[in-house]
């Protein structure tokens, strides 16, 4: 099964009900079922770039879900290479469109909708942070390209030789690009291997997820981000005095 084909991917996640989802301009929106549970679905595919119109289309589905389907879980699929870096997108305020999408997801959370993310392909930078990383639980297929940017790009911007960054990445998973290192940092809960029964896994995550952001604690436990949790808690403790 070729999970880079959106229709195959949707069949894998939602079975027959995947066919009712709208896949248009590399965006996925609609309602489907995970096993027998009704869910709302928003997502990207084909490694697309997210622009202003795309953010609004995803936001529109979230608003519809809040209005018409109380407490229905929202499944967020991510396969996007980043935000559209065009002059018009920036002029029109892409950052604010992303803030709007995040605010819609926040109201959904406040109203009791569970937010579950699965990175299925590319899950990079602004495209990931504007919806996927806002999930209560964030999962990734082991084939997903999750991260900030590849080392070559980091090297070009920072002027630090790629060889230096690559060598450092062996002991510093924050520099490594991929689902596994991202999981070590606490950014992904679990990496799903190719043979996993997705609907069962997804149903279990939906059932067990809670709302608190436990990524810093996870990053400390797994050793990929050793300081964030303690520094956050230190600020909370010092400010309580």
């Amino acid at each position: 099964m070729n999970t880079s084909n959106p229709n195959d991917l949707l069949a894998r996640f939602f079975g027959e009900s995947g066919k009712t989802l709208l896949v248009k301009d590399s965006l996925i929106t609609g309602y489907a079922q995970v096993l027998t549970q009704n869910v709302a679905v928003i997502g990207t595919c084909d490694g697309t770039y997210i622009d202003n119109a795309a953010a609004l289309r995803l936001a529109s589905l979230v608003i519809d879900c809040i209005e018409n389907h109380p407490q229905m879980p929202i499944v967020m699929l991510v396969d996007s290479a980043g935000q559209e870096p065009s002059r018009t997108c920036e002029m029109l305020g892409l950052a604010s469109f992303f803030g709007h999408l995040l605010s819609c997801l926040q109201l959904a959370r406040q109203n009791g909708h569970k937010l579950i993310t699965i990175a299925t392909g590319k899950a990079i930078g602004g495209a990931f942070i504007c919806y996927g990383m806002f999930g209560d639980r964030i999962e990734a297929l082991d084939s997903a390209s999750v991260g900030l940017m590849p080392i070559e790009a980091m090297s070009a911007v920072t002027k630090i030789p790629a060889a230096t960054l690559t060598a450092l990445s062996k002991t510093m998973p924050a520099l490594e690009f991929g689902a596994e290192p991202f999981a070590l940092l606490g950014g992904v809960d679990e990496v799903w291997s190719a043979d996993v029964n997705v609907p069962e896994k997804l149903a279990a995550v939906i059932s067990s997820s809670t709302q608190e952001d436990h990524r810093a604690e996870l990053g400390k436990k797994r050793g990929g981000r050793k300081w964030a949790f303690d520094v956050q808690n230190r600020v909370l403790a010092e400010s309580a005095k």
């Binding site: 002059r87 018009t88 892409l94 950052a95 604010s96 940092l185 964030a228 309580a240």
Partner: protein, 293 residues
């Protein structure tokens, strides 16, 4: 006679001192605690005692606030693991104590040197902003430095209740060099300051209602704007989101076909582009006819 320094020229610590009631600021995780980046030394880059983010508590006009001020000169104000954890911590403290949180933003976004740790850290800070919003605790971002608020920080400020900008501030995700690389110098010349500021600067953001207030580039004006907003918050409601959705759809409809910010200025009643370009924040506000929904 010494001219008072402009907001965009001030260091983070000077900005705090200029805004808060004299002597009221207590820094949290102050420099002697040496909560520094564990990663930068591995790259032979000097650390900073505050990792580029000064946090603490103060009063503004007698009202308690939590604050976080970014240090733009330190690795471009970029956000690494410790920096983002301080930011998340102070926002969580604000939510816990129901005390407004003020963010003095000056950042290019995630600190590349620390890879994904800064990216996840900014996402955690976003969740903390929304924790405040869910409890009706005001979050106010000031974007008045030349570096602006870009990348993940650009997105984060749009999650706050309010944004105060000056004509020096810029708000976006992709910086000018990235856009130039993507589109070519013909389509977008990143060295053209006027173009960059018309695309992403405070004046245009104010017209589009992405900035709530456009003030003078000085602490007194910024402080006055903050004071007005300290007792307000913008709860997230279904009605509010639907209004904003319509507003953004209209924006796309009205201006989506152009790449020229001057079209936006003209549409909002700016008759003389040259005059408006040279105007200060408040002068620009007077020249424009912005309609807020």
């Amino acid at each position: 006679m010494k001219r008072a320094s402009l907001y965009h020229e001030q260091t983070a610590r000077k900005r705090i001192a200029s805004l808060v009631d004299p002597g009221s600021f207590t820094e949290l995780l102050p420099p002697p605690e040496r909560v520094v980046s564990p990663y930068l030394p591995l790259l032979d880059i000097p650390v900073s005692f505050d990792d580029g983010l000064v946090i603490g508590r103060a009063t503004l006009g007698g009202k308690p606030v939590y604050l976080a001020a970014q240090v733009g000169q330190f690795v471009g104000g970029s956000v690494g693991e410790v920096h983002s954890a301080k930011l998340t911590g102070i926002l969580k403290a604000a939510a816990r104590d129901a005390i407004p949180c003020l963010l003095l933003v000056e950042s290019g976004g995630v600190r590349l040197h620390e890879g994904s740790s800064g990216e996840i850290g900014i996402s955690e800070a976003m969740r903390a902003v929304f924790e405040c919003r869910a409890k009706g605790v005001p979050t106010i971002a000031v974007i008045g430095a030349d570096i602006g608020a870009y990348g993940g920080m650009g997105i984060l400020v749009t999650c706050c209740d309010f944004r105060i900008m000056t004509e020096h501030g810029r708000l976006g995700i992709s910086g000018p060099i990235v856009i130039e690389k993507w589109m070519g110098k013909q389509a977008y010349d990143s060295s053209n300051r006027a173009l960059v500021w018309k695309t992403s600067g405070g004046k245009t953001k104010y017209l589009l209602n992405d900035a709530d207030v456009l003030t003078h580039d000085d602490s007194a004006s910024v402080g006055a704007a903050i004071g007005e907003l300290l007792s307000k918050s913008q709860p997230i409601t279904l009605g509010g989101l639907k209004t904003r959705q319509q507003e953004l759809e209209k924006r796309l409809g009205d201006f989506g076909k152009t790449s020229d910010p001057e079209e936006i200025w003209k549409a909002f009643g700016i008759a003389d582009i040259g005059e408006a370009s040279l105007a200060s924040g408040p002068e620009f506000v007077a020249l424009a006819k912005r309609k807020t929904p």
